[in-house]
């Protein structure tokens, strides 16, 4: 039990497959095709500022919507009886296990100009609305795909709130609103920050959702990176630089999150 040696294979793996690749990203970001050091790639990225801002904005919007929608649900589930809790959690997780692409594709068919939703509106003589290939569609896709990632951490934290503490607040004069604002909300902050991380990171870096629901006109950072590596304009150096910028953005957001959080170190991701 005191031996560190069992970890050795993993340490080697870690070095080769995690640390070295990241190092390569940095290397490619600061070199030209001929191998000279340069900061050009990074400055080149600044040409795409509008895309970067777009990505952050849409991801943030999706995150906030997920938070607002999930909060009441997680609370209701956490207060329900044991077997009902399990059922409801199962219902929440089931879509998560469906293939991500198929779920996004499903929305494509619903949102098309002659898709079902517009047909539904057509019954009342309104529309058709331009829903697909808009920023709205992209946000919708993000919310749809990542909602369970907000519900689960919130639920996990809320079940730990002792029911007696809520009763104590009521006993001391708190009505429903006060119980929420003074007891439930402060105690659920760790779950909120986990949920935000688990939604924002994939949302800001997606390229599927923007491609399938945003059409060609709503590129996000993810799309740009993909184009540099596998797409038409092959430029791994620029792509690496963009990846670097993406990682920095995420690191910034997470340290902002951490400043709200105190000592939650356990693997909340589980």
């Amino acid at each position: 039990m005191k031996a560190k040696s069992p970890a050795f294979p993993y340490l080697v793996w870690m070095a080769v497959f995690i640390i070295v690749p990241l190092g390569l990203v940095v290397y490619f970001a600061v070199t030209t095709e001929t191998g000279e050091f340069t900061l050009d790639n990074i400055t080149h990225v600044s040409q795409y500022v509008s895309v970067i801002i777009s990505s952050i904005w849409l991801a943030a919007l999706a995150t906030v919507i997920c938070l607002v929608v999930s909060y009441p649900i997680s609370f209701v589930i956490s207060r329900a009886g044991f077997s009902r809790q399990k059922t409801m959690l199962m219902l929440v997780m089931l879509p998560m296990w469906m293939n991500f692409l198929l779920r996004t594709y499903a929305w494509m068919t619903l949102l098309e100009n002659n898709g079902l939703i517009n047909k539904f509106f057509g019954l009342f003589g309104i529309g058709p609305f331009d829903m697909i290939n808009t920023q709205g569609a992209v946000v919708l896709g993000m919310v749809y795909n990542y909602l369970p990632f907000m519900i689960l951490p919130l639920y996990s934290v809320m079940t730990k709130i002792d029911g007696k503490v809520i009763e104590a607040a009521q006993d001391l004069g708190a009505n429903t609103f006060h119980v929420f604002s003074k007891v439930v909300l402060p105690l659920s902050v760790p779950g909120i920050s986990t949920g935000i991380t688990m939604v924002f990171v994939p949302a800001v870096s997606t390229f599927i959702i923007s491609r399938m629901l945003g059409g060609g006109g709503n590129l996000l950072i993810g799309d740009l990176i993909e184009l540099q590596f596998l797409g038409g304009s092959y430029n791994p150096h620029l792509g690496a630089a963009m990846s670097l910028v993406l990682m920095v953005i995420i690191l910034l957001c997470m340290s902002i999150m951490n400043s709200f959080d105190s000592e939650q170190e356990e693997a909340m991701i589980l």
Partner: protein, 267 residues
């Protein structure tokens, strides 16, 4: 009043979550290719799906990769957790932080960085690189599942086994492994799931001949061609539903048995 409002809210959210899936399922039985008009009932698309070589071979690849990757990452990850557990605080902190990287990093960066690595070593993209990539992002989940079990474990058990005559290695296998087994199993299942479902990392680390199912699905959706996609969705949904139901039934049985044991105790 409050109860009714929360019930309605829950219903709306679940409707939102399931509406697209249900629509897909309904139209998998549609006679025509239309995605909006239901003309008649047919199982044609399901037949065509089973004859679709691309899909079938992609499914095979996916399962193969998932099995290999999850087994490998469980072994590596469990061993790693045990070793990490014995480390001093600083080293442990460092290793765990690096372990978190594939989890917290956006998938696209993980995919791109591995692609650069394989190019750098000169390894051609194919099944091998795919497996290597999957193991890389699966191992952290195993570690994260096994470590809490190690922490919760009562070290006295290990010592008691030695007190009763076991060598440290035997004691380890006889006592520690069974104690942390739930974590190992959960880690294995997580690894398997993440591998099955992975798209982004696979997209950057696989070759043309070793498509996984998600990648095959991606090319299908790009062409928006046939309701075979709907049929596939339906089948996956049913499979996942069955698995979750089975897990729930198994849990319910275990729970019943446990509470019956409790009643027995009080007699």
């Amino acid at each position: 009043m409050k109860k009714a409002a929360s019930r309605i809210y829950m219903l709306l959210v679940f409707l939102f979550l399931y509406a697209p899936i249900i629509v897909m399922m309904v139209f998998s039985f549609n006679e025509s290719k239309s995605r909006t008009v239901f003309t008649g009932f047919t199982l044609d698309w399901y037949y065509k799906l089973f004859q679709n070589d691309v899909i079938i071979s992609a499914l095979g690849n996916t399962m193969l990769v998932a099995v290999i990757a999850s087994i490998a990452s469980t072994v590596i990850g469990t061993a790693a957790a045990i070793g990490i557990f014995a480390m001093n605080k600083r080293l442990r902190s460092f290793v765990l932080n690096v372990t978190y990287i594939p989890i917290l990093n956006p998938e696209i960066v993980t995919g791109v960085s591995l692609m650069l690595l394989f190019g750098f070593i000169g390894l051609n993209l194919g099944l091998t690189t795919l497996v290597l990539a999957h193991i890389t992002f699966c191992v952290p989940y195993v570690i994260l599942n096994v470590m809490p079990k190690l922490r919760q474990m009562n070290i006295s058990l290990y010592e008691a086994a030695q007190d009763l005559g076991c060598s440290p290695v035997r004691a380890f296998f006889k006592v520690v492994i069974p104690e942390i087994m739930p974590g190992i199993i959960t880690g294995f299942l997580m690894a398997f799931t993440y591998s099955l479902d992975d798209f982004v990392v696979s997209y950057f680390t696989t070759g043309a001949t070793s498509q996984t199912l998600p990648i095959a699905i991606y090319s299908m959706t790009r062409r928006k061609v046939s309701p075979q996609i709907n049929a596939l969705s339906t089948l996956i949904f049913i499979a996942v539903l069955l698995i979750l139901l089975l897990m729930n039934i198994r849990d319910a049985r275990a729970y019943k048995r446990a509470s019956q044991n409790k009643k027995g105790d009080s007699l």
